[in-house]
């Protein structure tokens, strides 16, 4: 919550800022994000990182719940194919995500709101570049109003 407030305060008061929930695998992408931080690479602060053991651990319901709870986009990142700590978790995930993205797109959720990528532990720069790209795309789209549950 405090993080959310910081982001909002840093922009002009009341202005909408994209909120991106990123699911990063522990072994590659989370370390890649860490490297980006350690290397002092600047990237947009709009991303909220959730660490998961493996991209194969990610249940599509996680992503749908994030969107329903007000995330403007979700980003999933795992190890490059062949580099998975658990040998094949990311390969099993790749099939799932290909279909999930198609399904959501068909349902009418813009494809920029559900993004998947690979970032290795040494790719701090790549992680920053991807976050920048995703946040830029979501900023253009505007806030997510589909699927969001409003009480």
């Amino acid at each position: 919550m405090s993080q959310t407030q910081t982001v909002q305060e840093s922009a002009s008061p009341g202005a909408w800022e994209p909120k991106v929930v990123a699911f990063l695998c522990n072994w590659c992408s989370y370390a890649g994000a860490d490297l980006a931080g350690v290397s002092r690479i600047q990237y947009p602060p709009n991303v909220r990182i959730i660490r998961v053991p493996c991209s194969g651990r990610i249940n599509p319901a996680f992503l749908l719940r994030a969107l329903q709870n007000g995330a403007d986009a979700v980003l999933v990142s795992g190890c490059h194919p062949g580099d998975c700590h658990y040998i094949s978790g990311n390969l099993a995930a790749r099939r799932k995500f290909a279909l999930l993205k198609d399904l959501l797109q068909y349902a009418g959720i813009e494809s920029e709101r559900v993004q998947f990528t690979w970032v290795s532990a040494s790719e701090g720069g790549r992680f920053a570049a991807i976050v920048e790209k995703v946040v830029e795309q979501v900023r253009k789209l505007g806030p997510n109003r589909k699927l969001v549950k409003s009480l």
Binding site: A61, Q68, K96, A98, L99, Y106, G108, V148
Partner: protein, 338 residues
């Protein structure tokens, strides 16, 4: 085309023989229902009662839905000791039902050796709702079929109305590409070759060409009728999980009410659980009391499964379920690159 009553006679003989010779302890088929255009599932255990079995263009139900629960694993060691072993089961299958059985065998929900599959080359089944709509405000009292496979209905004033076959066939049957069971121990009727039809593709194309906002609006409109009765889930032969994600409360993944956001979540989750598994029997759409096209999302997902991976659920017994496998060269054009 072999007339339904000929198939019916042979079906009764087959069931009677299987039960009499104790090849099966239970035979699943269809019997006459109290309403026209419909049949009811029949659970037969006695050979003498085999003449209750019927075969008509109204045998829509997918009987594969009963199989996983018949072969349910014992809950614990004590139950394993006391529970009698499940009987061998004979079951009547159409093309779509056979695909469901293949998928259930692949997912190890039913043992192949305990099944006697009586396949029927399916000419296509009648959508009861379409037939009722076609009759307008006249209520049907009885229904049957003529030699050409058209549906004949007797309406209230005693007159007979003929409904053209193409007019009343279920959507899934119009989209069906393999109406003859690819797996069977006994096959009744004249087997038809797998046929190509792009009916499903045409149906998904009109929604696919819209903008994202329009697609979303159309989906919301279609789903706004949903009362969250879970009938589509219950009717689905592929939905056999003991603990369904939709019923879990810690955490509650999908809210319980009919808030449109929760309803959409329900349908997205249900559709995605069908990815690479839906055998296109149309049980979900038939079960919906609100008349929602419950296959709206799954229909498209199945096309994606075919386009991306060249996989057709339930097409062949030797194969690994799509999402249980992977390949190094799976498509990954959908990935975000910096």
């Amino acid at each position: 085309m072999i007339a339904s009553h000929q198939i019916e006679t042979r079906l009764r003989e087959a069931a009677e023989g299987l039960l009499r010779d104790k090849k099966v302890g239970l035979f699943l088929g269809y019997e006459k229902a109290s309403l026209p255009f419909r049949t009811a599932p029949l659970f037969l255990t006695e050979a003498e009662k085999a003449k209750r079995l019927v075969w008509s263009p109204f045998c829509t139900a997918n009987l594969a839905v009963y199989l996983p629960r018949l072969f349910k694993a014992p809950a614990d060691a004590r139950e394993a000791k006391t529970m009698p072993p499940p009987p061998a089961v004979g079951v009547v299958l159409k093309g779509c039902d056979a695909r469901s059985v293949i998928t259930l065998i692949q997912e190890r929900q039913v043992p192949r050796e305990k099944l006697v599959l009586v396949g029927v080359a399916c000419p296509g089944m009648v959508d009861a709702r379409k037939a009722e709509r076609a009759l307008g405000d006249q209520e049907a009292l009885g229904a049957g079929e003529d030699a050409q496979g058209n549906v004949r209905a007797v309406v209230e004033d005693g007159t007979e109305v003929t409904l053209r076959r193409e007019q009343v066939l279920a959507d899934v049957c119009l989209e069906c590409r393999s109406p003859t069971p690819s797996i069977h121990d006994i096959l009744l009727g004249a087997p038809a070759e797998a046929r190509e039809t792009d009916a499903a593709r045409r149906r998904t194309a009109d929604l696919g060409s819209e903008t994202a906002d329009r697609r979303w609006a159309r989906l919301q409109q279609a789903l706004s009728k949903c009362i969250r009765c879970n009938a589509c889930r219950q009717a689905c032969p592929m939905c056999y999980c003991k603990d369904c994600l939709l019923d879990q409360t810690r955490p509650r993944w999908v809210g319980a009410g009919t808030d449109i956001s929760d309803v959409t979540m329900y349908h997205l989750v249900r559709a995605f659980h069908m990815a690479g598994r839906c055998t296109e029997c149309g049980a979900c759409a038939r079960a919906c009391p609100m008349g929602i096209d419950a296959r709206l999302l799954v229909r498209k997902l199945n096309l994606e499964v075919e386009d991306l991976f060249g996989y057709r659920p339930g097409a062949a017994l030797d194969g690994v379920p799509l999402l249980s496998a992977f390949a190094m060269d799976d498509p990954q054009e959908f990935l975000t690159e910096p």
